[in-house]
Amino acid sequence: MNTKKIKERSIESLLFVCAASSIFVTLSIVIILSFESYGFFKEVPLFEFLTGTEWTPLFENPKFGILPLIAGTLLTTCTALMVALPLGLLAAIYLSEYAPHKLRETIKPVLELLAAVPTVVYGYFALLFLTPILQEFIIELSGFNALSPGIIIGVMIIPYVSSVSEDAMRAVPMHIREGSYAMGATKLQTSLKVIIPAAFSGIAAAFLIGISRAVGETMVVAIAAGMMPNFTINPFEPVQTLTAYIVQVSLGDVPHGSLEYKTIFAAGVTLFLMTLIFNIIGFWLRKRIREAY
């Protein structure tokens, strides 16, 4: 009897250690990012970092203003959202309210494939397929630009937006729909005026997850956006995002511990904080829908 108890106890502790290891991962992210960027901010004042409009850390006379990278990130993210939010939401409404059961069960896993395609393949597609096509219509579009990777990222995050919003809409109880139909409303009226308001926090969570994915996307922009820190809001110009900058430095030979090495952690902290905010709000909103009904 006693050995059985010991066995049970030790298994439970072992499983606990595995579960708790996730906390260790988060802690190491925080510790490493703050340690290395602390070294960075000892040499570059925070004010200059946050307000400077030039980012040229690899030049002879380096400037460390993060704004061009943030501008590049926001530019590609906004382009992506203009594609993903309407398409994802419409697809979610269709799948949740209109599609027959069988079609929905077939389409959903196939739609998830959009998020499973390796991002480097999407990058290839953005640079060598979409950009040349777009250049036919937009003459001033340069070979590297924010528009084409933005659109591709948008396609890539459709499943994130659609599946979470669809879950939220399907969580709205059937009797609420039936009430609406009984009043003579069409499916469209029910969807727009009853289901979407009822599932609002879930849809908002889906949008935030999409935003956070778009902000953190790396390879598509590293390949197709041009690696040029550019303080602009013109999507036709080449830009560099926070993520693409980290890639650019990692590809070169940067000595461990140098200021250039620390810049990627400073960019990483900025990126981490941006996505963290979106993720936390999204998590909180999702938790709220689960409690709503």
Binding site: E12, L15, Y98, P109, P118, V121, T186
Partner: protein, 302 residues
């Protein structure tokens, strides 16, 4: 009366119009996916030969191949699977079956949800600081594999939990009623019944890991590797060697990235050919995952 009829007709036509819009929005992404795949095949099919799979990368595009890349991908994935699967499944089982509802469990839960949303390149920075410089694993297969393991850990945990949650409580109660301990219940009932969902999650996680590029670049994987890691099986005693864990490596997506970013057209054809293989691996793995999910759902009825 006429007025009402007109109104109904108006509402119905909008409803119908929206049905088409919704259908189109659902399929536009899939349409693009098909275009992407066809474009890749048209660009790259001419390079897809046996020689392409068995040659090292080279300065001459027509001689270059992906041997070191797919071997590297395979070995990295092996490390990833061996580390992420046991830890992830164990963590999932703990959180569903053992964890008491207290603040510690809450923190672990929030933390895992949060980790799933951290951009992959941040994992690369973590690995650079932790594995490369702190543990001094260098820019090795071990570092690459562990980095990707951290990345897919939240996915494995969440898939395990979801799958376990679908098992009704009556199963657990029946097992306890026969005098089984908690672990016996998990071992003989919970784990086998949730295996389908767990496997699905694992395969999808691994397919994500195969295509992941950014964190591997950050840990400093070289892009030009014209040699293979040392063999895991040796001729001398003890016949198994772990030296390969510490060898430099490259993986498929990095090789493709390297070729895409060159201006010469011939290299871009190579990139397309590598892309076809990457896409095929992803599609096959996801196909298997969908198949397993479907089969298990059919087999088990509570």
């Amino acid at each position: 009366m006429e007025d009402i009829k007109k109104r109904i007709k108006y509402n119905k036509s909008w409803n119908y119009f929206f049905l088409i819009i919704g259908l189109l929005s659902t399929f536009v992404g899939l349409f693009l996916l098909a275009v992407l795949f066809i474009d890749l095949i048209m660009d790259g099919h001419s390079r897809l030969t046996y020689k392409f799979l068995t040659s090292f990368p080279s300065r001459f595009p027509e001689k270059a191949g992906i041997l070191s890349a797919w071997v590297g991908s395979f070995l990295v994935l092996l490390v990833t699977a061996l580390s992420a699967i046991p830890i992830g499944v164990a963590a999932g089982i703990y959180l569903e079956e053992y964890a008491k509802k207290n603040w510690l469990t809450d923190i672990i839960e929030i933390n895992i949800a949060n980790l799933a949303g951290v951009p992959s390149i941040v994992y690369g920075l973590l690995a650079l600081g932790l594995f490369v410089y702190f543990f001094k694993f260098g820019e090795s297969i071990l570092t690459g594999g562990l980095t990707l393991a951290l990345l897919i850990l939240p996915m494995v945990i969440m898939a395990t939990r979801e799958s376990i949650r679908a098992i009704p409580n009556s199963i657990r109660e029946a097992s306890y009623a026969l005098g089984a301990t908690k672990w016996q219940t998990v071992q003989w009932h919970i784990f086998p019944y949730s295996l389908g969902g767990i496997l699905t999650g694992i395969i999808i996680g691994l397919s994500r890991a195969i295509g992941e590029t950014a964190p591997i670049i950050t840990v400093g994987a070289l892009t030009f590797i014209a040699f293979l890691p040392s063999s895991p099986i040796t001729s001398a005693f003890p016949f198994i060697s772990f030296e390969w864990l510490f060898d430099p490596f490259t993986v498929m997506p990095i090789q493709m990235f390297n070729w895409v970013s060159r201006p010469q057209k011939e290299f871009q054809i190579n990139a397309a050919a590598a892309g076809i293989i990457l896409m095929l691996m992803t599609l096959i793995m996801n196909g298997i995952a969908i198949h397993i999910r479907y089969k298990f759902r059919k087999k088990i009825k509570w």
